[in-house]
Symmetry: C2
Subunit: 195 residues, 2 copies
DNA sequence: CCTATATCTTTACAGTGTCAAGTTTGGATA
DNA sequence: TATCCAAACTTGACACTGTAAAGATATAGG
């Protein structure tokens, strides 16, 4: 097994998957391209033929993260709609849950300078994710645009959701983190519900 | 000048300063201990005698960041008090402004895994910073604790402030970033003001 | 079948953090 | 005051990193 086959089949796919695994295991800052290549069963220079450099691989992985992120928010909203719950709170909770379920990927998406955000693929993926979420905020009854330069209520909601996600993710908000899973979920919904 | 003096005087201090400069110039992820040493005018192994490793230097720098951060919030509140403005909004604005003024340091403090947050000095510095801020939230008229496990309004306010800071810092909230300095400041205050 | 090309490997290089062993210095002790 | 010791710093070495260049192999198209 693991024949030294020259043609892997879909090495690009395998490298992104391997990078994802290494990412969640080692963290963003300790990620090594050579270990990713080894995990995929190829030589350390093989990735260069599919990605311009290490940042390129991270960029592709980040773009995929944003697509999965957008999908998670969408399904959460749809589920809430059928149950006649607030879709905005549901999307916010899904936002936070995605961060807690994929901590390192979320860090890569929102707190790292390594991915190239000028890359067209990544730019498109992140843009659609944000726009979908902000559209949910806009269509919320309590957050109508009041016609200024900026949609203040929308930015406020986004800030709250994103701040909660990152503070929980980085272990800062201990009073919430120390709760049991059920109580924590309830607290998150409460924090995200309009006062 | 720059004698090859064996005894620097206060190399620990000089290394932290050099790391701070390198940090803001290069970013967290591209920081090199050897370049920091070179900037301080010492050999690449000199830092080891003042910090156990590279993370130790970053930890000390991060702790200093939290102390400066706490001081910035405090002065902002005091200024607001004399002008009979809302101290919570003032502290929130100072929170965001600190992030925008010291982007790399803020990233180190809130979005990096490199500093050792179990370090007693760093733990103490970050704890006092958070507690001071949360105390301001608590004493705000609109955010009284309702007696549950968690002070929901306080966590909500903290999330909003922190989320706004990080979204602006990482260039995500483009509708606010594209404003002029004056309008941006006004938008930040609006977002942080209780609806 | 045969060759062109994409795919992957090997080798090499500069840079990284850390460890071990030297060198210098300043201060305490006798 | 002379001496010695410990602290401060340097030098050299090691394993690791990402990337570039050149060689090897297999697959697709003629």
């Amino acid at each position: 097994m693991t024949k030294p086959a020259y043609h892997h089949g879909d090495l690009r796919r395998a490298l992104i998957d391997a990078a994802h695994e290494e990412l969640e295991a080692q963290g963003v800052e300790a990620l090594s391209l050579r270990r990713v290549a080894k995990r995929a069963g190829v030589s350390h220079a093989a990735p260069a033929h599919h990605f311009v450099n290490a940042a390129g691989l991270l960029t592709a992985l980040t773009a995929e993260g944003f697509r999965r992120f957008a999908a998670a928010l969408k399904t959460a909203q749809e589920k809430a709609a059928t149950r006649r719950q607030d879709p905005l709170t549901a999307a916010g909770a899904a936002y936070v849950e995605f961060a807690l379920a994929n901590p390192e990927l979320f860090s890569l998406m929102f707190a790292s300078a390594k991915p190239d955000f000028d890359d067209p693929e990544l730019d498109a993926a992140s843009m659609t994710a944000f726009q979908n979420f902000l559209q949910t905020v806009d269509s919320s009854a309590s957050a109508k645009d009041r016609g200024g330069d900026v949609n203040i209520p929308a930015m406020q909601r986004w800030s709250t959701v994103h701040g909660l996600a990152t503070l929980l993710l980085t272990g800062r908000m201990r009073s919430v983190l120390s709760l049991s899973a059920a109580k924590r979920k309830a607290a998150i919904v409460e924090i995200l519900s309009e006062a």
